[in-house]
Symmetry: C2
Subunit: 188 residues, 2 copies
């Protein structure tokens, strides 16, 4: 059921630039799964689209564990940038933004609950190593927000070089010393 | 003509959560201005909405000139955050994102050409004073992108405190020295 529902959602995103075309009703029709089942399992179209997005992202990009904060942040940012170059990424983000506007009471936060837990664990590993990781909110604001901004407002998907620039900025603005120019921050 | 077209666009944004309801046809009907006139003057719905957004923003928030880089950045960021608490701000951003997706060939960049020129002038004044301003892209990525992210993805409009945190981050990551803790950067 889940696979056919996800496939139907991706098909609809591929065919319709109009995000209002992505509804529970349309997904039920396309997948052959009953609307009642979709509502029972996901509750709202926003929750369903978040599940599609999480599946697409976490299957393709597991949260990294390279052994250093910079390594983890670079791997995460470069992969996130690459994920956003997928042809369906802008349509999926737009559909999420739109469904969320309709659904405001029920789904206030589109930042992937499951993903967020994995990222927090990545930052906690840095703390355990004696490094000084940014907060999760700083990570979202400095790494993800500019990528979404360029994609949605400037039609420019980010690339690996841009991703690394964002990591430099995150480290420069959050490290207690050394502004990202070397590896001393974790030895203080 | 311009005032009645803007009023019609704002009325439609107020009434319709569905951003696809905001079209040249709908604005022509509501304002009583001929479609041909709208196309001749603005070309696309994206250009028209950008004009509405620029008018709304620049009338309410002229680009600051306080005499210091930090002062200018704080005044800009706090006002931008305040502008985004306007009830119509999320609907306007969503309408821009969607119209731009339809209109990809013609309007690749939603970052307000007129506004961008004024912001560049603000940064150039800092350079002329001997300060070390960020680039315009750094300003957009560090100050505006997180505000848009919170508003669109988390339904949380930014506030003045958040705006100042973003300015601190921008200065910490772009100043050649002193990470924003004092005013020495401009005396090097």
């Amino acid at each position: 059921v889940r696979a056919s529902v996800h496939a139907a959602a991706l098909d609809l995103l591929r065919e319709h630039p109009d995000p209002t075309a992505i509804t529970i009703t349309a997904i039920a029709e396309r997948s052959g799964v009953h609307q009642a089942t979709l509502y029972r399992r996901w509750g709202t179209i926003t929750a369903l689209l978040l599940d599609v997005a999480a599946e697409l992202l976490s299957r393709q990009s597991p949260v990294p564990d390279t052994g250093t904060l910079r390594g983890d942040l670079e791997a995460f940012a470069v992969t996130a940038a690459h994920d956003l170059t997928q042809p369906l990424a802008p349509a999926l983000l737009r559909a999420l933004i739109f469904s969320n506007a309709d659904d405001r009471q029920r789904d206030p936060d589109l930042t992937f609950p499951q993903r967020v837990g994995q990222l927090q664990a990545m930052l906690d590993r840095a703390t355990a190593r004696g490094e000084h990781p940014p907060t999760l909110n700083e990570l979202l604001e400095v790494l993800l927000a500019p990528m979404y901004f360029h994609l949605l407002f400037r039609n420019r998907p980010p690339d690996a070089h841009h991703a690394r620039t964002l990591v430099d900025r995150l480290l420069a603005s959050t490290q207690p010393d050394a502004r990202g120019v070397n590896g001393f921050a974790d030895q203080q």
